[in-house]
């Protein structure tokens, strides 16, 4: 009788190529992921069901909490240029080294006269430094100047209009928010984003 011989095939597949691809992707994602910078002023943002993402660049964030306003700007070159313009305006000279450090810094909340001290600190100390917020009263409206100069800097470097986002604490009283909105409206910025948390669909 003729016996049909079954060809025994090995069940194990070669994983080498798959492994290569997987690790290539893994390396890519690790390298492109940006580490989360600690916030200078932690706020609890209110939740909403709207799901629009904030842009990655050309963005200035005004963080409002405990009556203080902190200012943050995206993009290294834009930050440097904005700092330079602010320095010229208020007669504070920043060295190249300070500018480089400022470009990598997180948001800040001090008058420009004290900005040098904040730049000199280590990032761990900055959060503990108890920054008083950027001055925004009518006598010394540095916040408006920051917004104005950042817009100029952004148009110069990126040739795009700067987007403004307001990140307010949920418990912050409305007049504080309104004050910031008024500052923006004085510069004819009539549309801006409000940063919110995520809420379930069935709210």
């Amino acid at each position: 009788m003729a016996k049909i011989k079954m060809n025994k095939k090995s069940t194990s597949t070669d994983m080498t190529a798959m492994c290569d691809v997987a690790f290539l992707l893994l390396t890519f994602f690790i390298l492109t992921a940006t580490a989360k910078v600690p916030e200078a002023l932690p706020v609890d943002t209110p939740a909403s069901t709207v799901q629009t993402k904030l842009p990655e660049s050309d963005l200035a964030t005004l963080t409002i909490g405990k009556g203080k306003v902190f200012f943050d700007l995206k993009g290294r070159e834009v930050r440097k240029r904005a700092l330079e313009l602010m320095g010229q305006k208020y007669g504070v000279v920043f060295s190249n080294e300070e500018m480089e450090k400022f470009a990598l810094m997180e948001g800040f909340g001090v008058p420009i006269q004290n900005l040098k001290q904040i730049i000199a600190m280590k990032s761990a100390d900055r959060t503990k430094a108890d920054q008083p917020g950027v001055p925004k009263d009518s006598l010394d409206n540095q916040l408006a100047e920051w917004v104005q100069n950042s817009r100029l800097a952004n148009i110069e470097t990126n040739d795009k209009e700067l987007q403004i986002a307001i990140k307010g604490d949920a418990k912050e009283e409305y007049p504080a928010i309104k004050k910031v909105m008024d500052i923006l409206q004085d510069q004819k910025i009539n549309s801006f984003s409000l940063v919110t948390g995520l809420r379930g669909k069935d709210f």
Binding site: S12, P46, V50, E173, D182, T196
Partner: protein, 186 residues
């Protein structure tokens, strides 16, 4: 297949020392599992950590009061929402002195059962009244000095959920409205 043959070269005569053939294949399954787990983790965290935002457009502001024109709107189309402290919310439809039927000033709650129901039913009623798709409801949001940011976001969120065509944030309070927010408190 990644296999390394460690064959002994040629046959010697006499007693030869036979080296044991060892399989050099390594099982990569666990390694691939781990790699893909990490990939998934990094992919999700990079896209999900971006904060959400809602965009808000405000009307032009002019410091010159003569240029600020009052826009006349049909009072039957407007609903005014007053935000007070302690999550208080009062709404009225039409004018405060002569509200539309069923639209007298009334306390409401935030969320699904409160203001949203009202907004949806009013929206329908207004469309029926005007009979024009382009003339929908107008909502005027008046946050008082004591209201907080969460209240404002909640109301703006309701606007987005119920898809109200026109809404505005107004900061001026008439004395009657101030009374409404403060008077009803026990």
């Amino acid at each position: 297949m990644a296999e390394l043959n460690t064959g002994d070269g040629g046959g010697g005569k006499g007693g030869k020392v036979r080296s044991k053939k060892q399989n050099s294949k390594v099982d990569l399954t666990a390694m691939v599992d781990l790699a893909f787990l990490l990939i998934t983790f990094f992919m999700l965290t990079t896209t999900l950590s971006k904060p959400q935002s809602m965009s808000l457009g405000l009307p032009d502001k002019d410091d010159d009061p003569t240029k600020n024109k009052d826009v006349k709107v049909d009072e039957n189309r407007t609903m005014t929402i007053l935000l007070g402290d302690d999550d208080k919310l009062v709404r009225y439809v039409g004018l405060i002195g002569s509200p539309v039927s069923g639209g007298a000033p009334k306390d409401m709650t935030y969320g699904k059962e409160g203001i949203r129901k009202e907004l949806l039913s009013r929206k329908k009623a207004v469309l029926q009244y005007t009979g024009d798709k382009n003339k929908g409801m107008i909502v005027i949001i008046k946050p008082s000095k004591k209201s907080n940011y969460r209240n404002l976001i909640d109301i703006l969120d309701e606007m987005a959920i119920t898809d109200v065509p026109t809404y505005a944030i107004v900061n001026e309070f008439s004395p009657e409205e101030t009374k409404l927010l403060e008077g009803n408190k026990e």
